[in-house]
């Protein structure tokens, strides 16, 4: 106790700060850092959940590089990212931009856009999965068939399946992005717009010279946030393709689904951990690149 009494006020503050911080630090250590470290360790081992772990060295990583499914999945993951992020960014900005100008039923419309974000991804994926079915149960194909148009293979196709799965995922994320964009637009001081109007500048110039540059922090946030989301896409894909997870012919399989399959169907924990480490690296690199590219000058 005398030790504590001899401390300066500043040092006492530090002691107290650490006492309060100890709980989250411990919590994070146990549920975040320990499993992360363990996963990295397991990626160098072979383990089937039963029995002992054996040292494998780089075997799992070599297997990964030689696995054609991994490269297909790697490509899919980036298609989800490169298709999903810009599309959702543009759509959500356009909606937010116009919604911001609208007064009539503003709150109601905003709620409509936000609803899908609150809906369970599992329920939504199943509903869309049924929308996409062939006649006689699929909504879209029944509609097409009603006009005598041939059916469109949404999910049972190697080219159409990925965009079909991505569409509801984009739609589900829109609500959140619109809200963030609207908050960003509202935060821009109106004086800039007044000055622009006095100068007689057109709406296009206002948009590209004032609104978008000043929205940069908002855009950075949304891009990083939605990129991570699309890189980790799982629930929509898994639920829409449970009959043939990530199929057909791996056309929709993202990395997370491959990890799940390797770990809990093949019980190959070492190989699954190696995939997890790769995903972790991808997320890290993509986030760092985006932060650097979009950093304000």
């Amino acid at each position: 106790m005398s030790f504590y009494r001899n401390l300066s006020i500043k040092q006492k503050q530090i002691v107290w700060a650490w006492m309060f911080l100890a709980i989250p630090v411990l919590f994070y250590g146990v549920i975040r850092f320990y499993p992360t470290g363990n996963a990295i360790l397991i990626s160098f081992q072979n383990w089937n959940l039963l029995g002992a772990r054996t040292w494998a060295g780089l075997e799992n990583y070599e297997k990964l590089i030689a696995d054609p499914v991994f490269w297909k999945v790697f490509k899919n993951t980036f298609i989800y990212l490169l298709l999903g992020t810009p599309v959702s960014l543009v759509i959500s900005f356009i909606i937010a931009y116009h919604l911001d100008k609208l007064r009539f039923m503003h709150g109601f419309l905003r709620m409509l856009y936000f609803l899908p974000f609150m809906t369970s991804a599992v329920a939504m994926a199943w509903v869309w999965r049924w929308f996409y079915q062939d006649v006689p149960i699929g909504l879209f194909n029944n509609f097409l068939a009603g006009f005598g148009i041939p059916q469109f293979e949404f999910l049972n196709s190697t080219t159409n399946a990925l965009p079909s799965v991505l569409a509801p995922a984009v739609w589900a994320g829109l609500g959140f992005q619109i809200i963030i964009f609207m908050a960003g637009i509202r935060a821009i001081p109106t004086t800039y717009y007044e000055a622009a109007r006095i100068d007689g500048v057109g709406w296009w110039t206002i948009l590209t010279q004032i609104t978008i540059p000043l929205l940069r922090p908002t855009i950075v946030f949304i891009v990083v946030f939605s990129s991570i989301g699309f890189l980790r896409i799982f629930d929509h894909v898994f639920n829409m393709t449970t009959n043939n997870p990530g199929g057909p012919l791996n056309a929709t399989k993202p990395l997370v689904l491959m990890i799940y399959d390797t770990a809990f169907n093949s019980f190959d924990m070492g190989y699954a951990s190696a995939q997890t480490v790769v995903l972790f690296m991808i997320l890290l690199i993509v986030s760092l690149i985006q932060l650097r590219l979009l950093r304000s000058k």
Binding site: G51, I137, L249, S266, F267
Partner: protein
């Protein structure tokens, strides 16, 4: 509570007797683990009650877990000296459990291999390694052809098809299309994702004169004429005869339940959920025979095994318990409560069971059923799904797709058995 009091009484008695004479029966408690499924837990409770009545001095404690946690829990507990003395596992996991030293062989004295070979349906021999049985089932499952009686009546069909040719003809009469030519009622459901991959592997390939695997399921053998004929027959249902569509109504069983499919191949475990569908009139028939009259079926099952944790008197008690739950009476209880099929002909082929309108076709199928020894069932199923998808979506030649599938599956098997 009653059990608890009885335990106390038994424990009290034995300990007081033990003071007087150290040679006396002890109260032994063994643990039994299975995954959670309502009817299975009910049935096991009944069996435990019967067992305890027959064997005073032994009590059985049952613990059950959700299916998803089962494997992790078992693997963590046994090496730590905790957990079950007798454990339930899927037949396909036997190799993994054996390799991880979680289960021990059943003693030859109490479970002579020759007697088991004779008494059980033949596919149970998949549980025999180097002449020693490691595990035994109480109940088994097999495949059969479900058919929609109402659609059969409408089409004027009197009896379910007995051969593959009849199957195609019957399906043609049942299938319906709308004005635009889209299938609205399937003659027969198809989809490798459901039970069809078993039908193809163990039934169709054999019926076209081949055998899907050799060398105790370690070598893929279906890249042959028989395999090609089986694949062509399967895909012809959609492509040539137009009586089916892969993925019709999302899931084969969904189409059948909705009354949109005339026939559907599925396992005995589907009976329960079909019973719940109101207004669906369905019947069951044995799987159709092949062109040369060959009959075949696929059977899967959950087995019970004694773990390496059981030692001494717990081991002896576990043997008694294993004997009890693989007895004829236990199998009858399991059929009555869970609706799973008896693993022995002596129970299954009684007049009452074998001629049962619903269970009969499944039980009769057991006599000629085969059990695939999977290294990784979901990965091996995926291979067959992809095989059909390549011919369907990408228009790949059937022979090429078959060869590619055989190669992919062989890779899975080789990797697994190399460990």
């Amino acid at each position: 509570m009653k059990k608890y009091i009885r335990n106390l009484v038994v424990a009290g008695l034995t300990s007081s007797v033990a003071v007087l004479a150290s040679t006396s029966a002890q109260a032994v408690e063994i643990e039994y683990w299975q995954y959670y499924f309502d009817a299975r837990v009910d049935a096991m409770e009944q069996l435990i009650e019967g067992f305890e009545a027959e064997n005073p001095g032994i009590t059985v404690k049952m613990t059950h877990f959700p299916y998803a946690d089962y494997r992790t829990k078992v693997s963590a507990a046994i090496p730590a000296g905790e957990g079950p003395d007798v454990v339930q596992l899927f037949y396909g996991w036997l190799n993994d459990y054996r390799a991880a030293n979680l289960i021990q062989p059943l003693p030859e004295a109490d479970f002579p291999a020759s007697a088991i070979d004779e008494e059980f349906f033949p596919m149970v021999q998949a549980m025999k390694v180097d002449g020693q049985y490691f595990a035994l089932p109480t109940a088994v499952r097999s495949l059969a052809l479900f058919y929609n009686k109402r659609l059969f009546d409408e089409a004027g069909i009197e009896s379910p098809p007995a051969t593959l040719d009849e199957l195609v003809e019957t399906a043609k009469k049942l299938a319906k299309r709308d004005g635009a030519g889209n299938l609205t009622t399937a003659g027969i459901t198809t989809g490798m994702n459901a039970q069809d991959h078993h039908w193809w592997r163990e039934v169709l390939v054999r019926q076209f004169g081949g055998e899907a695997y050799q060398d105790d399921y370690k070598t893929v053998n279906y890249a042959s004429d028989a395999g090609l004929a089986a694949l062509n027959f399967y895909t012809s249902l959609e492509k040539e005869h137009g009586v089916s569509a892969f993925g019709f109504m999302d899931e084969p069983q969904a189409a059948f339940k909705a009354g949109r499919a005339g026939m559907h191949i599925d396992g005995s475990f589907r009976i329960g959920s079909l019973n719940k569908i109101r207004g669906l009139k369905w019947g069951v028939a044995e799987l159709p025979a092949g062109p040369d009259g060959t009959k075949s079926n696929y059977s899967s099952y959950w087995v019970n095994a004694i773990t390496t944790k059981a030692e001494g008197e717990k081991y002896d008690a576990s043997i008694k318990f294993m004997k009890y739950i693989t007895s004829d009476a236990a199998m009858q209880t399991w059929l009555d409560v869970v609706g799973e099929l008896p693993a022995k002909p002596s129970v299954g082929l009684t007049d009452q069971n074998a001629n049962n309108e619903v269970f009969g076709p499944f039980i009769r199928g057991l006599a000629y059923a085969h059990t695939t020894k999977f290294a990784n069932e979901s990965a091996q199923r995926q291979v067959l799904m992809d095989m059909v998808a390549r011919t369907d979506i990408e228009g790949q030649d059937a022979k090429e797709s078959l060869a590619q599938a055989a190669e992919a599956e062989q890779k899975i098997l080789s990797e697994y058995y190399a460990k």
